[in-house]
C-alpha cells in the first residue's frame, strides 16, 4: 500500500488545505497525474502523484487543512489487493519531510501524525509563557536547551528575528479553529466570495513571502556580484530568429537569459541546489522564475530541466507558467523543485537587481533593463545594448571567486546565442 501525503510546496509551507480531489476510490492513477488541488498560502496548487496505482481510500476530505506529511489517500500498488489495511486511518507513520528536519505541530485533530521526536514538545515554562505572549509558534522552533527543550532564548530569538512574520506564525501555530485572517476558509465556514478569497490569499502570500525572505536574510550569508553583459549579438540573433516566426511564437531575451543561467548552473554545480545542514546539489537544473502577480505578491515556480530544453520549448513553457501562475493554478512539482532562481526586473526599468535567495536554494541571478549604454570595446568607445547581470549567492555553499566565474559563464553563453 502506498500513502499519498500532503507535499511540501516550498520551505515556508507547514500545512495545506485540500480544495478538491480529482480522483476517487477505484480510479487508476499514473505517475505524474494531477490528483488533487491544494490551497497553500500562495496559490491553489495542482498536486501530482508520483506512483502508479489504484486509489483505495481518500483520507482527507475537501476543505480539511492538514500538516505537511499527513497521509491524504492510500493507493494500492499494481497487483495489490484491497482489504489489507488496518482499522481506521493509517495514522502510524511518521510524516515525511524530504526538505526539512523540523518538527510539525499537527494541523487537525482528525489526522494526527505522531511527533517524530516521540514525545510532547518540550518547552520550558518561561518559554511557553513568553511564546504565548509574543505569539511565537512553538512548533516551528528547534529547542537548544536541556534535552532539546525549547528555551526562553529560542522564543526570544524567534520573536526578535521574525516580528513581521507573525501572521504566518499565527496561521501555522494552531489547529483549524484559529481565527487567523490568513488561513484559508475552514470546512464549516460559509462560502466566501471570490474577492474575499483573493484578499485572504493576498494577505497569506504577503505573510509567506515575509517568512521566507526573513528566513533568507536571517540564515543565509549573501554575497553579491554584478557584471555588465553586452547583448548586441544576442539581440541580433533574436531579431533574426523572430523574423521568421508568428508573433505568438516570438522569443524574448528573458528566455535566452534563463537558458544561459541554466547552462552556467549545470557547469557550476555549487550554485544549483540546496543548503540543508550542508550543500545538496539539485537533481537537474530547474530554474525558478520570479513572477510578480497582478494582485501583488510573487511566486517563483520552476521550469524543469531548463539546461536540456531548446529555446522555443522554453519560451512556450515560460508563457504557460506565467499564465498559470497568474491564474493561480501551479503544480506541486513546480512549487517545490526550483534549484536556482532568476529574477528579471528589466521591464520595470531598473538597471540592476540584487536578489534575496529563496531558501533552501543557494543562488539567485538577477537581470536589469537592457539599454543602450556607452561601453569600451577593444580600446574604442561604442554604444552597445547591455544588461546588468547580478548574482546573490549563499557564502556557505560557494565563494566569490567561483561566483565571478559563474557570472562570467552566463556572460559568455549570452555572447553565443546560437549555441543556446
Amino acid at each position: 500500500m502506498i500513502e499519498f501525503t500532503m507535499p511540501t510546496l516550498g520551505a515556508d509551507m507547514d500545512e495545506g488545505q485540500l480544495n478538491e480531489w480529482l480522483i476517487k476510490p477505484g480510479d487508476s492513477v499514473t505517475r505524474g497525474q494531477i490528483v488533487a488541488v491544494v490551497e497553500t498560502t500562495k496559490a491553489a496548487v495542482e498536486i501530482e502523484c508520483w506512483h502508479d496505482g489504484v486509489v483505495e481510500d481518500l483520507l482527507v476530505g475537501p476543505g480539511e487543512t492538514v500538516a505537511v506529511g499527513t497521509p491524504l489517500a492510500t493507493l494500492l500498488e499494481p497487483g495489490e489487493k484491497s482489504g489489507m489495511k488496518g482499522p481506521g486511518r493509517p495514522a502510524g507513520k511518521t510524516p515525511q519531510e524530504p526538505n526539512r528536519g523540523r518538527t510539525e505541530l499537527t494541523a487537525t485533530p482528525s489526522s494526527v501524525p505522531p511527533s517524530p521526536i516521540g514525545h510532547r514538545l518540550w518547552v520550558s515554562p518561561v518559554a511557553r509563557r513568553t511564546a504565548a505572549t509574543l505569539g511565537v509558534d512553538l512548533g516551528a522552533l528547534t529547542g537548544t536547551g536541556p534535552q532539546g527543550a525549547i528555551t526562553l532564548h529560542d522564543v526570544e530569538h524567534a520573536a526578535a528575528t521574525a516580528h513581521h512574520e507573525k501572521p504566518t506564525a499565527a496561521t501555522t501555530s494552531a489547529p483549524a479553529a484559529t481565527p487567523a485572517p490568513a488561513s484559508a476558509p475552514a470546512p464549516a465556514a460559509e462560502p466566501k466570495s471570490a474577492a474575499e478569497i483573493a484578499k485572504a490569499r493576498g494577505a497569506a502570500m504577503r505573510a509567506s513571502i515575509a517568512a521566507a525572505m526573513s528566513r533568507s536574510k536571517r540564515e543565509i550569508p549573501h554575497y553579491y556580484l554584478s557584471d555588465e553583459v553586452i547583448l548586441d549579438s544576442a539581440q541580433a540573433w533574436l531579431t533574426e530568429q523572430n523574423a521568421g516566426r508568428p508573433i505568438t511564437e516570438r522569443m524574448l531575451m528573458a528566455v535566452l537569459q534563463l537558458k544561459a543561467v541554466a547552462l552556467a548552473a549545470a557547469r557550476f554545480g555549487e550554485f544549483n541546489g540546496f543548503w540543508e545542514e550542508g550543500f545538496r546539489p539539485g537533481n537537474g537544473v530547474h530554474v525558478g522564475v520570479a513572477i510578480s502577480l497582478r494582485g501583488g505578491g510573487l511566486v517563483a515556480p520552476a521550469i524543469h530541466d531548463v539546461s536540456e530544453k531548446p529555446l522555443p520549448e522554453l519560451m512556450a513553457d515560460l508563457t504557460d507558467l506565467v499564465a498559470r501562475a497568474r491564474a493561480g493554478s501551479l503544480r506541486s512539482s513546480e512549487m517545490s523543485d526550483p534549484t536556482i532562481t532568476v529574477t528579471n526586473l528589466g521591464e520595470k526599468g531598473v538597471d540592476a537587481v540584487f536578489g534575496v535567495i529563496y531558501p533552501p536554494q543557494v543562488a539567485i541571478v538577477g537581470f536589469g533593463k537592457p539599454a543602450q549604454r556607452v561601453v569600451v570595446v577593444d580600446g574604442g568607445i561604442r554604444v552597445a545594448t547591455t544588461v546588468q547581470s547580478s548574482l546573490a549567492a549563499d557564502h556557505r555553499a560557494s565563494d566569490g571567486a567561483r561566483g565571478a566565474l559563474f557570472l562570467a559563464e552566463i556572460n559568455r553563453q549570452l555572447q553565443q546565442p546560437a549555441e543556446l
Binding site: P125, V126, Q147
Partner: protein
C-alpha cells in the same frame, strides 16, 4: 584588619559576654581546652567558671541545662561539638526548646543559642562530618542560621543572642580558618539571604561551607561567559523566598548546592518552593548538587568525591544550557 572565621566567633561570644552579663557559654571542652575548634580560647580566664562551663559528655543533659537557664532569664550559648552529636539532644531542642512558647500559650520563651559545627572535608569520618542542618530547618519554633562569611560569623551570632526564641547556629568546619579583611565586626540581621555575586544567566543557591565552592564555580563559569547570581541563604529557617524568587525571575535557571544528601535535602525544599512560586519563570529543570548518598567516607579522595565540588557545580550549571559534555548534575 585580617580576621578569621574562628576569631570572629570568639569575638562575638566575648563581646556579647562583656555587653550582657546574662550571657554564658557551656559545652564540652569550651573552658580549659578553649573549645574543640578553639572558638572560646581565653574566655575562661576572662569570664571565670561561673560563665564558661565545661560540661560532661552528655548532650541531652547540658542542652537541657541551657534551656533551663534561658527559661530563668539568662542568655546561654550552648556549644555542641558537631551536629552528629546533637542528635543526642534532639529531644531537648525539638520537644522542649522549640515547643515551649507554643505549648505555654506564649508564657515561656527560650532565648537559647545552640552553636554546632557541621559538615565534612576535614577527614573526620562519618560520625563527625555529616550535614544535618536540614533536620533542624524542618522544625517550627526555632531559627536556623548558617553563617558562611567572617562578617556573618560575628554578626549573626551577636544578633542571635537578642532573639527571644531558640536559634541554632551551624558553623561549617571548613570555614573556621577562612579569613577576610574587615574594618570592624558588627551585628548583622538574621532574616534575609544575601546575594554574594551578581549575574544574569543562572542562579546558584547555597549556604555555609558550600558558598566558597559556589563562588569558585561562578568565577570559572564567568570565564566561559555564564554569569551567575550566587545566593547565600544565611538563614535556613525561615527561608527567604523573596530573594530566591527575585533571582529566579532574573536568570530563569537554578542550581541548588547543598552539602546534605539529595534525599529530603534543603535543596529539595528550595526546588519545590521555586516550582510553586516561580514555575513560569523557569527555563530549565532545577539542578541540585548535593552529597553522594553514603555516610561521609574517611579516605581523603573518597570524601572529596562524595561532596559537592566546584567542578560538579560548573557541570550542573552548564547542564541548564543543554550542555551535557561533562558529567551531568546526577548524584554529584
Amino acid at each position: 584588619m585580617k580576621t578569621t572565621y574562628r576569631s570572629a566567633v570568639h569575638d562575638a561570644i566575648a563581646d556579647a559576654m562583656r555587653a550582657d552579663d546574662r550571657v554564658l557559654l557551656l559545652g564540652e571542652d569550651v573552658g580549659r581546652y578553649g573549645g574543640t575548634y578553639a572558638a572560646s580560647k581565653g574566655l575562661l580566664e576572662e569570664f571565670g567558671p561561673q560563665r564558661i562551663l565545661d560540661t560532661p559528655l552528655s548532650e541531652l543533659g547540658f542542652v537541657g541545662i541551657g534551656i533551663g537557664a534561658a527559661l530563668n532569664g539568662l542568655r546561654p550559648i550552648v556549644e555542641v561539638m558537631t551536629v552528629n552529636f546533637s542528635l543526642l539532644a534532639l529531644d531537648q531542642i525539638v520537644n522542649t526548646a522549640a515547643a515551649l512558647r507554643h505549648m505555654s500559650g506564649g508564657q515561656f520563651s527560650v532565648p537559647l543559642v545552640v552553636r554546632m559545627a557541621t559538615g565534612a572535608g576535614r577527614q573526620l569520618a562519618a560520625q563527625h562530618s555529616h550535614s544535618l542542618e536540614n533536620w533542624y530547618a524542618h522544625i517550627p519554633g526555632i531559627t536556623v542560621l548558617a553563617p558562611a562569611t567572617v562578617a556573618d560569623a560575628y554578626g549573626m551570632l551577636r544578633t542571635a543572642l537578642t532573639s527571644p526564641d531558640p536559634v541554632i547556629v551551624f558553623e561549617h568546619v571548613g570555614l573556621y580558618n577562612t579569613a577576610a579583611d574587615l574594618d570592624s565586626l558588627i551585628p548583622t540581621e538574621i532574616g534575609r539571604a544575601a546575594l554574594r555575586r551578581n549575574g544574569s544567566d543562572a542562579t546558584i543557591i547555597t549556604y555555609g561551607g558550600c558558598l566558597p565552592k559556589a563562588m569558585d564555580a561562578a568565577e570559572r563559569l564567568a570565564q566561559d561567559g555564564i554569569d551567575c547570581d550566587v545566593i547565600d541563604l544565611r538563614v535556613l529557617r525561615p527561608l527567604d523566598d523573596a530573594t530566591i524568587m527575585e533571582s529566579v525571575r532574573k536568570t530563569h535557571r537554578v542550581v541548588v548546592v547543598d552539602e546534605t544528601w539529595h534525599t529530603g535535602s534543603l535543596a529539595g525544599e528550595i526546588s519545590a518552593r521555586i516550582v510553586e512560586q516561580a514555575f513560569y519563570e523557569l527555563d530549565a529543570p532545577i539542578g541540585r548538587v548535593c552529597t553522594v548518598e553514603v555516610p561521609i567516607p574517611y579516605a581523603k579522595h573518597l570524601e572529596e568525591a562524595a561532596l559537592p565540588q566546584p567542578e560538579k557545580i560548573v557541570s550542573a550549571v552548564r547542564a541548564l544550557f543543554g550542555d551535557t559534555g561533562r558529567a551531568g548534575a546526577g548524584d554529584g
